[in-house]
Structures are given as C-alpha cells and as structure tokens.
Symmetry: C2
Subunit: 425 residues, 2 copies
Amino acid sequence: MRVLGIVVEYNPFHFGHLYHLKRAKEKVEPDFVVAVMSGNFCQRGEPAIVDKFARTEIALRMGVDVVFELPVVFAVQDAGGFAKGAISVLDATGVVTDVVFGSESDDVEFLKRVATILHEQPKEYQEFLRVELKKGYSFPNARKYALMRYFSHMGWDPSEVSKLEKSNDILGLEYIRSALEINSTISFHTIKRVGTIERDPEFKGKYSSATAIRNLIRKGSMEELKEALPKESYEVLMREMKHGRGPVLLESMGDFLLGFFRLKDEEYFSRIHGFSEGLEKRFVECAVEARSYREFLECVKSKRFTFSRLRRIALFAVFGLEKEFVDECNRKGPQYLRLLGFTEKGKELLKVIKKRAKLPLITNLSLYKKILEKGEFSVDKGLFLKQLELDVKATNLYRIFLPAMEERKGDVDFYTHPIFLSSET
Amino acid sequence: MRVLGIVVEYNPFHFGHLYHLKRAKEKVEPDFVVAVMSGNFCQRGEPAIVDKFARTEIALRMGVDVVFELPVVFAVQDAGGFAKGAISVLDATGVVTDVVFGSESDDVEFLKRVATILHEQPKEYQEFLRVELKKGYSFPNARKYALMRYFSHMGWDPSEVSKLEKSNDILGLEYIRSALEINSTISFHTIKRVGTIERDPEFKGKYSSATAIRNLIRKGSMEELKEALPKESYEVLMREMKHGRGPVLLESMGDFLLGFFRLKDEEYFSRIHGFSEGLEKRFVECAVEARSYREFLECVKSKRFTFSRLRRIALFAVFGLEKEFVDECNRKGPQYLRLLGFTEKGKELLKVIKKRAKLPLITNLSLYKKILEKGEFSVDKGLFLKQLELDVKATNLYRIFLPAMEERKGDVDFYTHPIFLSSET
C-alpha cells in the first residue's frame, strides 16, 4: 500500500494547490492521500482566512482522504520546527510511505545529501562550521560556507549549495532532516516549483497566489475570487463568509495584538521563543509607538528579521510560548494525531492507522483524558496536555475575530466532530 | 487658607457634579478647590468615556483649581482601596483642609463614629466581630451585626447602623477611616444625596445620571446630550469625539477583554486581587462560553459579586494586579502626586503645594527618574515605579480603543503637559 503524505495550509485552497496535488498523485500513484494541515494560525504568522474545519472540508472535496492537524506550536514556527511537527505527524500515522513537496531546485538528491550532513554532522563539517562562525557570520551564512567547504572537501561542486536560498528548498531540506532525526522510512520526492509566483500579490486569475487571493477577499472582489479558486474552495469560502465565520485577516486581530503587547514588558518577551538581539526591547517600544499593528511590524523590522518571522514571533508572544517549551516540543515532536476530517475512502485508511499509529489518535477531543489514561503509547503526558491545550486556546482566541458575534463561542474543538465526506455528496 | 478637596470621576461631568461642587463651595467657602480624579479607568470597572486630560479640562472650566490623578491601582478598586488612594492624594498635597462628599444619610457624625470604631478596633467590637463571623456570616454582614452590638453596648441606637447600606455612605465611611489611618487633619462634611438618581439609566434632561448620559452617547443622541450636560462639558466632549478621541465605552474593549481571558488559566487568575470563591474557575469557563463581554459578565455573575465588582476584577486581571501588590498599595498608599491640570488661580496654590507636599509632585512625567533620584521624600521607590508604570500602561491600553487610528499612539503620558487654563479663556 502506498500512501502519499502532504504538508499543507490551504489558506485558502487554490489552483496551485490543486496542481501540486495532481502532480504528486501522478508521481507516487498512491492508494490514499493523507494531509497534515495547519489549524487556525499559519506559518506566515497570520490567522487562517477561514477555520480549520472549513479548510478540511475543502481539502477532502479536492481529493485528500484524511486530514490531521499540525499542532499550533509547530504550525507557527519557522522551517525547522514546522517541518519537525509536520513530518512527525505524517510518520506517526504509520501508513505514509511517500512525501512530495514543492521545490525550486527540484533536486531531491541534493537536498538529501545536505540533510544527511546536517543530521550526521561529520567531524570535518563541524570544524568548518566552527571556523566560519568564529569569523562572525550569522548562523545561516556560516552554515552555507561550511557546507560549501565540505562539498569541496568531498569533491562535489560547492556552487550547488547556493540552491539552499529558496524557501521551498529550505523547508524540504528540513522535512528530510526531520525524517532522519526520527528514523522515518518515508521516501521524499519533489515537484518543480517557481518560487516567485507564490508571493505575487497581484490577481492573475487561475494563477493567483494565496497572498493575491487573500487580497481579493480583503477588498471584497468576489467575482475575481470566483475565477481564482476551484469551485469547491470558492463555495465553502463563500458559505463560511455568509455565516460570518470569515474572513479572518491579520488586521482582524491587529488591535488585539497591539493592546496585548502594550501590557507586557521586556522581561516577559525575553522568556518567549524567538526573542534575541534586543527584539524584546523593540517590541515594548514599538507597541507604544505604533498606532496600528501594521505600523508596529514596520517599527520592529530590522535586517535580521523578516516580516514573516516577526509575525510568527508575535504569535509566540501572544500564546506565551516560552523558549524551554518550544525547545522541548521540537525535541520530542507532537504527542498526538488530531483527526480533522476524512472521506468515505479515508475511513478504510483510518482503520489501518488505528492499528499502526505511533501516537494516540484523537477523533473526539472530549475523550482526551481517557486516551491519556489508557497509556497505550509512550507519550509525554505533560507535553501532550500542553500541546493540546494550546490548540484549544488558539481556536478560542481565533473565534473572537470572527465577523459574526453569534459564532464567537469557544471550545468548538470539543464539540466539533471530524468532518466526514461521504461518497454521495 | 481653606482648601476644599473633592474626589471625582467626572465620567462625564454633568449637572449633578455641578450641583455638588456648588454646594460644597457654599459649605466650606474655600480659597481653592483641589480634585483627585480617576484617570482613564473608573471605579465601575469601565474605561472613561473620554481621556483624563479632556476630563481635567472640563473640571478646570467648571471651577476646580487643581486636578491630580488617582493612580489606576486605586481608581479601579472597591470603596476601601479607592478611598485610601483618594484621601491619601488629597492629604499629601499638604493644603487640603476640608473634604465634602455626597451622602445618603447626610450624617457625618455617625460616619465618623463608625470610622473610629473600625480604625481603633476596641476589644469589645473585636469580640463581637469574632462571634458573628463564627456564625458563618459573610464579612460585611458580620461587621454590620458586630457594629450593632457595639452600638448597644455603648448605649447608642443600634438601628442607626442600617445607614451603612448605601454606596455613598460606604464610600464616605472609607474616606474618614483612611484619614484616620494616615493621621490626616482633614475635616469631612457631607451633602445630602438621593442615591437612586445616580444609577437611573433613563434620560431626564438636566437630572440625567452619568449612566443615562453614557447611554445617550452610545446611541448617538446628541441633541439630548446637549440638554443633559453643562455647556463646557458638552463642548469638550463633542470636540474629543469629533477628533475620534472618544467615546470609549465598555463595549469598545469587550473583545479585547474576552480574548485576553481566553488565553489565561485558573492559576493566573488565582494570583490576581479580588479572585476568591472559585471565581477564577468561572472566569476561565465563561470566557470560553461567552460570545461577547456582556455575555461573559452575565455568565460569571453570582449573588456574591455585583456587576461593578466583576468589571473591576476583570480590569485587575487585564492589568495583572496581583494580590500582594494591591495589598502593598493599600497599606502604603500612592507614592506620588500626578498633576493633570490647573487654572491661573490654581498656579498660586501649586506654589504652596510644592512646599508642603508629602509626596513627590510629578508635573512632567519624563522627569520621574530625576524626581526619584533627588530623594527628597521617603517614598518606596519600587512601589513608586510600579504605580507609575501601571498608569502609563493603562493609558497605553486605553488608546487602542479610541475610534480614530491616528490617535492610538501610546506614551501620551510622557509628552502631554498638564492642562493649563488661563483666566482669559
């Protein structure tokens, strides 16, 4: 049995995602497709445009068989933590055999080679890295130069290392490295990806990026939106918005973030993951200086930090993710498989997953204590609870930002069943 | 020299306030009037409708000569803490000779008698209180019964004690008790007050309560508002609203509060002043359950807690006011005199205050470190900083809720000079 695993956000699901899914299926010819998806907050450090259940429904209608949630502590991290969480979830299903990801270089052998070096840390590489760091380079640059020297040392072309500058390749590298770390037997494959399209904020019909699509929603350009999205995605999105369950945009939570930061001091921020090089001081000063969240981000911006990274760090601060906690999560990985949805076909796969899973499977959140008591798995109970409570908190906060007051009740995680898509619909 | 001290919120200044000011002046025939006023948050546990500088301007135009800020840690407390802060500020000016307050009983001698018992704690009273508490009565009830027994014991009419059930009398009692505690020589006087009018939410023209007036603003009934307010108050209010610096209503900050509480756990709330009897659990549950702040308050409501008290406790939680900190504040009182504004005439009084003040006078907040270094006063430097930082934080949070984005910059406390009203205007 071949099972394709994919790592997605679908914020929202667009033609690029459809293309990726199609090509990935052609490549692997899987019996089933399993996705691990970000919940209500994404790696760009933003809330998702509609909630995880609506996005799960779209994923199922577009051809995914089973969707699991990437716990929020991983979903809002940079490449390393995000990949560790995502690959661990896919691996823990016990069924995923192949993972396909978009890649600018489309050179999976090169990525595997680098991932192996980073994982095995051969002595020569360590020495090169030590020397480059001593020269005063930042870690990413020192790592690049050390890799180039190691490539030369091995008689490989050092210029290849320059491939490691594109975001999808960096993420892919981390997927493979995570797999090595957890001794996963998953095989990796790439699909050629043109990196620039993804961030293009302009409307380009079927070829619009997720950013461009969110801009259409922001502006209320529904006719263009219809053109930019597959029918299923458009329908669910429109239904959610009609009921006031979306859109949730970064600006929906901007005032909240700004107010929250105005109440905190440097000491608070300095305990949070991602704060270094005086960023805690800038957070305090800029929260007071800025009149809006946009101004806040511009104020804290420096060469060392991209906007995405700053938005992510801001979410760490709001969720109170302390350094030790995030480190522990990245070391031990996710502690559960949280099922978000499945199709009629996916039901068959779930039966196998129930037998083979390496982590407790959560289908009904209100039973999580029973799951823990059973103790069938060697999970860290404290970490299990912390990760799960954080997912619940994130959803509870998210719902405050929904346009419709009636929809703002919390704890929907406890009373929403996984989305089931039967064959007839 | 006689100086009248008054304790006010002016949220907003209405004809009832004007009446009180006039009657108080008739009673004391003062050379000057000094007010201690709540800053941007009031004792009802709500943000002020317009900010403290605008309300100071109105106070000056209505006949107050000097306005000091009641530090927020006192302004949002119940009668005891509020009174301790307010009377300490008035006393620390070194010039206030008389305080006049509204009173339902209008029996200042009775209030002084009770305040003296509560302050001196005679042995017999202590024993009565012990017995009543042992019977299982709540503290306020046990205190009432103990006082009745003590009155009998002294040969006074015990039924008098029933006067202690109206809010202005309770507050007045605490004023006098605070004065005893700090050995103040201030004399106290009362003005007869009909308690029910104050909370009447209906528009009654000139006789509208502050609650009714805030309702007019909420509904945008500006014609009726004009009728309900003295001209000066109306003008400043309209100017502030025109510039988007108001109105700030409880609902302006409702989503923020709800979101904030959804991120906190019982352990957090249990450290905060005012949480007892399982309220921390209800805060956690209701924050998730409620779809709006109004629903939240209704959900946490119980017989033991009034809505005002719950709103206050909610502010304690947002500002992170821990039990030990509030206790210390109530023991040691305010650590500074923060000048908000003065008239031409008030300038003369300020010269005297500068000589006689018992606490450091802050006219320019950016110089507060210098003030501390001078060390002319025996203040608790740590507490001084904490109280001041809290005032600044409160203002910074308050401004997030202003309607106009351009006005939302923080730290206005540092760059706003005290309001000065010259004689010509």
